[in-house]
């Protein structure tokens, strides 16, 4: 996850408390989603950014996952994201995300 975004997540978590934060990812594939998810839960696995060694344990989802889709206005989702369901390997992404959550999410 890029360093600026890591800093933002860290700052927002300090400001609002981790149980009040949900991170929503828009990565294009499984591996990238997994790395970003791990970054905001267990810490930056690439040891590059402000979340290196910082385990925030945040709640994290990919925008195409079924669990979070229920929260959206379906029209907005249709307009902004639905097309990507035909492009991304949503199953692969969901699998990665589930695995990371089970291992590292505390909230």
């Amino acid at each position: 996850m890029d360093l600026e975004n890591q800093k933002r997540v860290k700052d927002l978590t300090e400001q609002y408390a981790p149980e009040n934060i949900v991170v929503l990812l828009g990565a294009a594939e499984g591996e990238a989603s997994g790395i970003a998810a791990e970054t905001v839960t267990n810490g930056d696995p690439t040891f590059a950014g402000p979340l290196t060694g910082v385990s925030l344990g945040l709640s994290v989802y990919h925008v195409c996952e079924e669990e979070v889709k229920e929260e959206y206005d379906p029209e907005v989702y249709d307009e902004q994201v639905s097309m990507m369901e035909m492009v991304l390997d949503v199953d692969e992404i969901a699998e990665e995300m589930q695995a990371i959550r089970e291992q590292y999410s505390k909230y």
């Binding site: 294009a28 307009e79 097309m83």
Partner: protein
């Protein structure tokens, strides 16, 4: 019935009256014609893709010393394993020549042939492995250093005397390198002088296998915009751009003096502390290519710049502002080895070991070369929004609809053409494929394609990626050379070039950007079925002479 001449403007100007006329055909299409009265001929005022040039420069030492992933690592983590392992993963020149995507980039392997070779390609050896290709060449590092010195006007580049002596002969064998360039190569200095420049004056070193063979000085003692680092980046961009431009002009088979305007579309900035991005790489490069009648300017748009530049160039020619325009761009040392950490981690070679350059020459319609159709360009506007749907709609489906075309009417799409060998191990997926899936997915959403047809559409109308990840280089334009060849052979009718750019990197806007246009097979001289009959031509002449006379009367 009027026939169209192959090049009316040039001959017409010598003989008689040439008039540019805009006519609205029965189909309500606006067409601008050039009418040659003496020869009773007319031609559509379009711009065509007259020639292309594509070059790679193999620069393994520059990966280590100038790629930002490596320079950053040296600052942040100087003892890192990555830096220690890096050298062992650099490919020798022979392997770079025998690499399928590189041979595709310079024109010896077609995208269709590349698609037949199952990737990943980095462990394969292409039987086609010539340094020179239909569109350009893959230049080795040593010769390139001499070219960098040759394009330097300000005595900033110093090369080792022995190195120059043995390399100049090699460079002179390159058919594209001109006497003009060779004459600009200095004898060189000794090692002591190079060491002094590097150690005492902060010059940047030029290395061959870790041996210092050159140094690039700063151009000012305190101005950071003229630091040795900036100068080396800019001179490398200029040199690789000039190389590509020479090929484009040669392949266009025109007199270099015909080119009246040059546009540079790389991502570097040249200037000083008072005008940091003042620019005009274009004119500097045109000077090296001896385009003595050309002026120029730089177009900047991050990765989308080449598409912007070609669109601007085509418009200049179509409007009659200039007869021939060149678009050119050199490579970026900063991006060398950018994804190196992922490549080394996965046991791959450093695949980002080449600079990329490209150039195209655009001229008035000659009845032969592919037409750059800018009647219905696509563009991502300020108000377009960033959702993939809106982006792809603005660049692809909206302009096609305006042109009365379906998504399947385009034979091939050329969006971002990055080599997937480079991007997949770095977690960025197969970029051309992702773009094609998005185009197909949008067509499905709009009801122009069945969901079940999506994969077939992607396979039929997509191309494998083969361009180096040199920023602006992969965006849309790598396919122009191959598209032109296919169209001249009559194999392909229509392609769409899509350029996209990430503007947020400059921290001036979070907006995305892109433009697109079609390139179409030239259907030859315009003849009988056109709306303009010889009677109408006589009328046009009469009207024009009346207008002219009226003008004279009114101005009295």
């Amino acid at each position: 019935m009027p026939q169209a001449s192959p090049n009316p403007s040039r001959e017409g100007r010598r003989r008689g009256i040439l008039i540019k006329k805009t006519i609205i055909t029965p189909e309500k299409a606006r067409s601008t014609y050039i009418i040659d009265f003496e020869r009773q001929e007319y031609r559509f005022m379009n711009s065509v893709l007259k020639g292309t040039g594509y070059v790679l420069v193999h620069t393994p030492d520059m990966v280590i010393h100038n790629g930002t992933t490596q320079t950053t690592e040296r600052i942040v983590n100087p003892d890192s394993d990555y830096l220690k392992q890096l050298k062992a993963h650099l490919r020798p020149y022979e392997r770079v020549l025998a690499y399928y995507p590189n041979q595709t980039y310079i024109g010896n392997v077609t995208p269709a042939e590349l698609a037949q070779v199952d990737g990943p390609w980095q462990d394969l050896e292409s039987p086609v492995n010539d340094r020179y290709g239909a569109f350009g060449e893959i230049m080795p590092q040593d010769e390139f250093y001499l070219l960098v010195q040759a394009v330097d006007e300000f005595e900033l580049v110093y090369l080792d005397r022995d190195f120059v002596a043995k390399t100049k002969e090699k460079l002179a064998q390159d058919p594209i390198v001109t006497e003009f360039i060779l004459k600009r190569i200095h004898e060189g200095v000794d090692q002591a002088k190079l060491k002094q420049l590097i150690e005492d004056e902060g010059a940047e070193g030029l290395y061959m296998n870790d041996v210092i063979v050159g140094a690039v000085r700063r151009a000012h003692d305190i101005d950071t915009n003229l630091s040795a680092h900036v100068m080396i980046e800019n001179l490398v961009s200029k040199a690789s751009s000039a190389l590509a431009l020479l090929y484009a002009v040669k392949n266009a088979d025109i007199n270099p003096d015909d080119i009246e305007y040059t546009i540079d579309c790389s991502e570097e900035a040249c200037g000083d502390m008072n005008q940091r991005g003042g620019g005009n790489f274009a004119k500097a490069t045109a000077e090296i290519a001896e385009l003595s009648r050309s002026t120029g300017s730089d177009v900047r748009g991050f990765c989308a710049a080449p598409a912007h530049a070609v669109m601007v160039a085509a418009s200049l020619v179509k409007a009659g502002t200039f007869k021939a325009v060149a678009v050119t761009a050199g490579g970026s040392t900063a991006k060398l080895g950018m994804n190196g950490k992922d490549h080394v981690k996965k046991g791959l070679p450093i695949l980002e070991d080449c600079l990329g350059g490209f150039a195209v020459v655009i001229t008035e319609d000659d009845g032969i070369n592919p037409v750059i159709n800018i009647d219905n360009v696509g563009w991502h506007a300020v108000g377009t929004g960033s959702s993939p749907q809106n982006v792809i709609a603005s660049l692809v489906t909206v302009p096609l609809e305006k042109a009365g075309l379906k998504v399947t009417d385009v034979d091939y799409y050329s969006p971002e053409m990055q080599n997937p060998d480079i991007t997949k191990p770095a977690g960025a997926g197969d970029v051309p494929l992702a773009n094609m899936k998005m185009i197909g997915a949008l067509a499905v959403k709009q009801g122009d394609l069945e969901r079940s047809e999506l994969n077939g559409f992607v396979e039929r109308h997509g191309l494998p990626g083969f361009a180096p990840t040199q920023g602006h280089i992969p965006s849309g334009v790598p396919y122009l050379g191959h598209a032109r060849e296919s169209m001249l052979k009559g194999e392909v009718n229509r392609v769409m070039i899509v350029g996209k750019g990430s503007l947020f990197l400059g921290r001036m806007t979070n907006l995305f950007d892109g433009v697109s246009f079609l390139v179409e097979k030239n259907d030859g001289p315009k003849a009988a079925e056109a709306a303009v009959s010889s009677e109408e031509i006589r009328q046009i002449i009469a009207e024009s002479l009346r207008d002219f006379a009226q003008g004279l009367l009114e101005s009295r």
